[in-house]
């Protein structure tokens, strides 16, 4: 049911852990639904110099978190803002339809961590104006489409 890439990231997830003095921390999902992602960012001069994650969830949630961290590490805030759930899923050689919400969660975790950074540092980040990290309607909407 999963691609080799998903299984490989599940087996050897990249960037697992925490950053003690993180500049931005984002947590999305809820335990009731069976997945929570927590993302830690270290940002220097607008560049994500380090990123770590912790995830409670299924195989694809762990693989999506791992892939998302790889895709934003070393990138600028602007580039990280462009990360979409679709890009995460594609980079994993696809996810089963019922698991697409895991990639949505990964995208939201990155944005939630950036939002936290922007609030703490009083920096405006283009595109986060309407972002609500506790809004999981998107994820359920994705499921209803199946």
């Amino acid at each position: 049911m999963y691609s080799e890439k998903v299984l490989e990231h599940f087996r050897n997830p990249r960037n697992v852990g925490e950053i003690e003095d993180a500049d931005g921390i984002g947590e999305v999902g809820n335990p009731k639904c069976g997945d929570i992602m927590k993302m830690y960012l270290k940002i220097e001069d607008g560049i994500i110099v380090d990123v770590k994650f912790k995830t409670f969830g299924c195989g694809s949630a762990i693989a999506s978190s791992s892939m998302a961290t790889e895709m934003i590490k070393g990138k600028s805030i602007g580039e990280a803002m462009k990360l979409t759930n679709k890009a995460v899923a594609e980079a994993l050689d696809g996810l089963p339809p019922i698991k697409m919400h895991c990639s949505v969660l990964a995208e939201q975790a990155v944005k939630a961590a950036l939002l936290d950074y922007s609030k703490k540092n009083n920096v405006h980040i283009e595109g986060l104006e309407d972002f609500n990290p506790t809004d999981d309607s998107h994820e359920h909407h994705e499921l209803e489409e199946l």
């Binding site: 335990p31 069976g34 912790k54 409670f56 969830g57 949630a61 762990i62 698991k99 359920h140």
Partner: protein, 392 residues
């Protein structure tokens, strides 16, 4: 060769060699249609009747009361729909429980759409139905009580004898889905006052695609499948002769060595439970501690999710199952785990390991060793585990 440990015997079991050997001639040599009058056909007919007798003997029934089906789901559908429609003039109320297999629950939902009323009984923390609640639910309209013999997920065995007595006293039919129990627990339909009982061969080392419904003589029930005179006009369709032969042999083997088989399974089960509790914290055992299926173990490992647990076990060559939402293809975890009162987040972390005749102590030890590693690895990745450690 990569190690492979199969601990999902409640999902299905391998066909035993002796069972297969009995079946094989009925594919290629003794292939006659049992309805044909020449001797090749009659040979099949004789084989079916011999198997029917073995099954009847195993449950203390008369062989005229055993009807072959394509499996447990068909037997469940038939019992419920057949009794409901045949007894509609008598009443329109059915009582079942919240932890039944979907073969029962989805059939009940269908019957509700057809105008029947269904009461879904609650269960306690171990998954046992409350007999007082059952008694209170009975009305003048009640025509059928359907309560499973033993639960497929958490293994809890229901007070079948007491339920049978209540049903008999009130003149209500009693059906039990015994798919997980048959071949593993001694069952006497007369002693337990069971009117109908569903079974499936592949849960006790028989083939898939064959099951049976026991129907006590005198029970008013409509056929589910029309089209021919097979099974004494009650279940149309050319009989699955090799399957029926296999089911007969499998049930004979199961009850031949039942006590030895069960004491071995219980000792493996207790070894597994003990070692897990000794080595892993934040774990709970689901289901009744003692009154459960001999081979059933069901844990919840807090702070981790069941599907990632199963994937990790699979990578070590271990086959188990889980009641997490991610393995069911829905948003909710298992209805059984929710019915025993578990919160969603804990129910998501469930793992069912079901032992069988081919498991060994070495395998149990290997599974525990791998579980310790896997649970630690997944918890190290889990933000919920951090929170629990902080709270401590």
């Amino acid at each position: 060769m990569k190690k492979f440990v199969y601990m999902d015997n409640s999902a299905t079991t391998p066909v035993k060699r002796e069972v297969l050997n009995e079946m094989l001639p009925y594919f290629t040599e003794k292939y006659g249609n049992p309805s044909s009058i020449y001797s090749l056909g009659n040979q099949s007919k004789v084989a079916i009747e011999s198997s029917r007798e073995k099954i009847a003997k195993a449950i203390g029934a008369n062989s005229k009361e055993v009807f072959f089906t394509a499996g447990g789901s068909e037997a469940d559908n038939w019992a419920l729909k057949g009794v409901a429609f045949a007894n509609r003039k008598k009443g329109n109320h059915i009582i079942t429980s919240k932890i039944e297999h979907h073969g029962i629950l989805h059939t009940c939902q269908y019957l509700e759409k057809q105008g029947f009323k269904v009461t879904y009984l609650d269960v306690d923390e171990y998954g046992t139905v409350d007999l007082d609640e059952l008694k209170k639910s009975i009305t003048d309209e009640t025509i059928l009580i359907s309560i499973m013999f033993a639960n497929n997920e958490i293994g809890t065995i229901q007070p079948i004898k007491e339920i049978g007595n209540i049903a008999k006293e009130k003149g209500i039919y009693f059906h039990t889905d015994a798919v997980q129990a048959i071949g593993h627990i001694k069952i006497d339909v007369n002693e337990l006052n069971i009117d109908m009982l569903s079974m499936s061969a592949h849960k006790f080392y028989g083939p898939k695609g064959i099951g049976a419904l026991y129907i006590r003589q005198g029970v008013k029930i409509d056929p589910l499948i029309a089209g021919g005179g097979q099974e004494r006009n009650r279940r149309a369709g050319t009989e699955n002769v090799p399957g029926i032969v296999g089911m007969g042999k499998a049930i004979e083997l199961a009850y031949e060595n039942l006590d030895a088989h069960n004491s071995k399974l219980i000792s493996l089960r207790e070894r597994l439970i003990k070692k897990v509790f000794e080595n892993i914290d934040y774990v709970r055992l689901n289901g009744h501690p003692t009154n459960r299926l001999p081979g059933n173990v069901n844990f919840c490992f807090k702070f981790i999710e069941g599907e990632s647990l199963l994937l990790s076990l699979d990578m070590e060559g271990i086959a188990g199952s889980s009641g997490s939402a991610c393995t069911s293809g829905t948003l909710d975890p298992s209805h059984v785990l929710l019915a025993i009162g578990l919160p969603h987040e804990i129910a998501h972390g469930s793992l069912r390991l079901t032992l069988g005749d081919f498991n060994s102590e070495e395998e149990v030890d290997y599974v525990v060793e791998k579980l310790i590693e896997i649970v630690a690895r997944l918890r190290a990745m889990s933000p919920l585990y951090d929170k629990a450690k902080e709270d401590k």
